[in-house]
Subunit: 198 residues, 2 copies
Amino acid sequence: MNYAAADVKRLREETGATFADCKNALTDARSWDEAIKILDAKRDKKADKMIVADRETKQGGVFSYVHHNHNVGVLLELNCSTDFVARSEAFRKLANELALQIAGVAPKYINFEDVPADVVEEARKTILEDPALARVPAERREDFINGKLKKQFGEQVLMMQPWVKDDSIVVGDLVRKVIAETGENIVLRRFSRFELGK
Amino acid sequence: MNYAAADVKRLREETGATFADCKNALTDARSWDEAIKILDAKRDKKADKMIVADRETKQGGVFSYVHHNHNVGVLLELNCSTDFVARSEAFRKLANELALQIAGVAPKYINFEDVPADVVEEARKTILEDPALARVPAERREDFINGKLKKQFGEQVLMMQPWVKDDSIVVGDLVRKVIAETGENIVLRRFSRFELGK
């Protein structure tokens, strides 16, 4: 697509990507939205690489958030690889956003993998009895079942929840964005959520 | 003992007891320390009454404390009977002191009653094998065993730990003081303590 220098600037502000990446994305894309999609894909790939690298995440910090009326509070441990990133604003902002999300939406699990196997198995059985399944071609059935499962547990799994401040992305995207920004794997290790009298 | 009006004032400041109670304690006591002991006993009795009354403790609040370097954090729920006390300075100060204590000393249990029965039983067996027990008169053996048990678990039980800011009292005394001050039962319902990488 045709673009001006101002477009590159705007795209950088919107996505946090580098100047070169923004220029390339605008050159390759046919529309503004496509340019953003290209950058998103690039960022996810970068984040995946960080996660796959699976470097030790022993740094980080413990953070808390308590509602002003003291009826809900959250404590969490967010890990990364270096003390440098642990002290960065991006990391601390992410910790705060995660605490706010947990306080507001009360997830039961951090990742889909944390849902106990027997609970998933029970849900899978129910889906197998769904008459809709029979109409799905055999080779697509596993995807169909997984899709249903993810939808069913999405509300309880923090990383799959729509972000309270922008429901066009899920919380996992928020984490992946900071992973790409900082170049370090970031892992929410644990959280506690107390609600008065519950 | 002989005392002046200034003594009553000082005693009130030191103990938080009422004017009448301080006057009576000074009249009955033979020394300053005895006057304080009389007031302590009176306060404990009052607190015990509040606890025995066992009024519902459904109010209170969730509070947190995080070390400035974010390597340790604590979340706790402290309960009382009324919203009025929940919003009082004495209650909030107590919540903060408890959080600081938990952050610093890392107790495993809140009360002695929270130590699992099998763990206590195991410790009791070891004490029964202690040769010193044979030299204790039969009628005092149960006290001897309980004393040993409380000593052994005292470090792990929050309410039995010496208070980090004044080790002449235990944390339970701190709670009982606020119970007597506010006239309401106060219960630490639960806590979480996260230490980075532990």
